[in-house]
């Protein structure tokens, strides 16, 4: 490989990106748009769920329970209605996601036997939100119930025994607040790399064919390897820059913790870029048209990275056959590495399985990429 020719190719490619508005948008704005969209849009947790209440009793006890809902950050009690139909209509009209019905004999039964129930009607249109709302509602009621229970025990002179019931104390590591943004945003770096890298590299060879410059390149002494390396090196640089941009944005704007090593972050990013750029390059060689190549490239990189990498949908919750497939998805290793670097504080030494898998991918893809292009018109 001749260094001067390779450098000339890189310089040319970089100048072309710099002067092409479309490429610049992909390089500069795509990462920001992507991380903003996913950071704000793709939250899996629910806050401020709108709630309507129907208090059929109107006692001190029932009001105390409703206050507990009001105090919770997960719920906004918007309105109290006075009949069941109004509540059903509100759910049908999507004015609330949750309806709480407190029966007329609530406090009576509470005092009596300590056993009563509250009805919660959940809008199940969105399965995920419904499950969350149900869970949060149960938590609020459970807290209230245990307080009532303690009071009851207290009134019956059993306070000392009952005030110390056995309880399970959960503690979540790495994402203490169980915030989905912390879970999702590190993975968006992989999404940005896949989209940006595949889009730009898929244009490289196709552009030479479409603009009629390929014939001269073939007629020159430049080798296929020099063309490939020269063309892709600028994108590795741009990719690292974009990765840094994403990380700064994730930490500075969304407050996602970055606890791991910078070296691990950039090293795994380089490995991932080699795979993505190699795929984009091979597609570019095969299709020879910029439009076709970019469409294939997005399909082959973005789809598996968003669906099967564990970026948003946890792999261990997938059905077994799909879970098996994810082992073949190169981005799962990068997404896993990113999450462990951001949240788990991992350094290079902690990421051996991920790095080994990604290195194998980089070597295999790199090997085929160097053989993809032949200097011939046929």
């Amino acid at each position: 490989m001749n260094l001067r020719r390779t450098a000339a190719m890189s310089r040319k490619e970089f100048t072309q990106i710099r002067r092409d508005p479309h490429s610049l948008i992909i390089v500069l704005f795509l990462p920001l748009i992507q991380i903003l969209l996913l950071g704000y849009g793709a939250r899996l947790d629910a806050n401020h769920i709108p709630v309507y209440v129907l208090d059929q009793e109107g006692s001190q006890d029932s009001q105390a329970l409703l206050k507990a809902f009001q105090a919770s950050p997960y719920f906004d009690v918007i309105k109290a209605v006075n009949n069941y139909h109004a509540l059903v209509r509100a759910i049908d009209a999507d004015q609330c996601k949750l309806g709480i019905v407190i029966p007329w004999n609530f406090s009576e039964r509470l005092d009596d036997a300590g056993r009563t129930s509250v009805q919660a009607i959940v809008d199940g249109t969105d399965d995920n939100s419904a499950q969350l709302a149900e869970g949060y509602a149960q938590a609020v009621v459970a807290t209230y119930a245990s307080n009532v229970q303690l009071e009851w025990f207290g009134r019956h002179g059993l306070a000392q025994d009952a005030s110390n019931p056995l309880s399970v104390d959960y503690r979540t590591w790495f994402n203490e607040d169980l915030e989905s943004k912390n879970f999702i945003i590190p993975g968006t770096v992989a999404l940005v790399m896949a989209l940006m890298g595949a889009l730009l590299s898929s244009l490289t060879i196709a552009r030479e064919w479409e603009r009629g410059t390929m014939e001269q390149l073939i007629a020159s002494p430049v080798t296929a390897l020099e063309i490939m390396v020269g063309k892709l090196v600028p994108y590795v640089g741009i990719g690292l820059l974009d990765a840094a941009l994403c990380a700064v944005f994730a930490v500075g704007w969304f407050g996602v913790p970055f606890r791991g090593g910078l070296g691990a972050f950039f090293f795994t990013t380089i490995l991932f870029l080699i795979v993505i750029l190699g795929i984009g390059y091979m597609i570019s060689v095969a299709t020879k048209s910029q439009l076709g190549a970019s469409q294939y490239a997005v399909l082959v990189t973005l789809l598996p990275t968003s669906m099967l990498s564990g970026f948003a949908f946890p792999i261990d919750q997938m059905p077994a056959p799909i879970r098996a497939i994810t082992y073949l998805v190169y981005s799962r290793y990068y997404v896993s590495a990113l999450k462990r670097i951001f949240l788990g504080g991992a350094g290079i030494n902690d990421l051996v399985p991920e790095i080994v898998a990604m290195t194998i991918y980089a070597l295999v893809i790199g090997f085929f990429a160097t053989r993809a292009f032949h200097k011939s018109l046929q």
């Binding site: 000339a8 190719m9 040319k12 072309q16 603009r211 009629g212 014939e215 020159s220 200097k375």
Partner: protein, 313 residues
């Protein structure tokens, strides 16, 4: 001969069963301009592409500076320069950036490059446009920039595929003067052209038809192939005169050119009366037939029409 820089022997190339180049043999000497002429589809572009090492061949041998291009295409590429018909400049790079890219690709040393770049831009009158993007140049200037890029590494052999197609007459003339100065430096130029007046400027011509060689020699030798003489008849409607006499006995070919008709006849003295009779029958005014020197175009039209009638019968 030792000064033969190109030797092509029995070159054959097929595309999906169609023969594009058919057992073609020719050579080119150091410092000559060899013109490839022939109608569209004659195999000129395919021949140039094979010589440039961008296309493989099915049979034959192609020696460039003693190296077989078919066996080792990469070995000769640094000594050749090839400018395809659709010369693709990087339109988003400036004039200088384009030249420097090719200089780097061909590993021209920086001092030589600077000198050569100045000289080439000066010769093509483009020194003022160094920092202009190639996409913003006129058609003729793009061609000249293409030639400058092709010449930056001082090749021994320059292959040009229809370099003057779509270029204005002034730029065409400039282009040819660049070619002559190259020849003076000892560069061999192979140029295909659709303009037959340009064929006269070449040292030797290779006339191709359907992949085969019809003629190989100097323009004068080509003209001697014409058996009879060329008569020029001016008329407001030469097309009508052409249909009136075409195909008659002794009329070898008739071609309307502007407001004149060129007729190739086997024996001018015998055919004059016959022509007049035919023209009068057409009912179009016409001037006195004059005998003119045959141009390459006249011979070209004659040779091609002979081929076509041979194939038709």
């Amino acid at each position: 001969m030792s000064d033969e820089i190109v030797q092509v022997d029995g070159l054959t190339k097929r595309f999906a069963g169609v023969v594009a180049v058919d057992n073609l043999s020719f050579n080119a000497r150091k410092g000559e301009i060899l013109g490839l002429v022939g109608p569209d589809g004659a195999g000129k572009t395919t021949t140039l592409r094979i010589l440039a090492g961008v296309l493989s061949a099915d049979a034959g041998a192609v020696l460039v500076a003693g190296q077989d291009v078919l066996v080792q295409p990469e070995a000769v590429k640094s000594r050749i320069s090839y400018m395809p018909q659709q010369f693709g400049l990087y339109e988003d790079l400036t004039v200088t950036e384009n030249i420097r890219f090719y200089a780097d690709i061909f590993e021209v040393s920086r001092t030589v490059r600077q000198q050569r770049e100045d000289q080439l831009l000066e010769a093509s009158g483009m020194s003022r446009f160094r920092n202009r993007l190639a996409g913003q140049l006129s058609g003729g200037m793009k061609r000249k920039l293409g030639i400058a890029c092709a010449l930056i590494h001082t090749p021994q052999l320059l292959l040009l595929d229809e370099p003057t197609t779509g270029v204005d007459p002034v730029s065409r003339r400039e282009l040819w003067s660049i070619l002559y100065s190259l020849v003076f430096e000892g560069v061999t130029v192979l140029v295909s052209t659709a303009y037959l007046d340009e064929a006269e400027r070449c040292h030797r011509l290779l006339l191709m038809y359907q992949g085969r060689r019809l003629f190989f020699g100097t323009p004068d030798e080509l003209k001697n192939m014409l058996p009879g003489a060329v008569l020029s008849i001016s008329s407001p409607d030469p097309q009508a005169l052409q249909t009136a006499v075409a195909g008659e006995q002794g009329i070898l070919s008739a071609t309307a050119m502007g407001d004149t008709l060129h007729v190739v006849v086997d024996d001018p003295d015998r055919r004059l009366a016959q022509l007049r009779a035919g023209f009068e029958h057409a009912g179009v005014p016409f001037g006195e037939p004059r005998r003119i020197a045959a141009s390459v175009e006249d011979v070209f039209v004659y040779v091609i029409s002979q081929q076509e009638t041979q194939q038709g019968s």
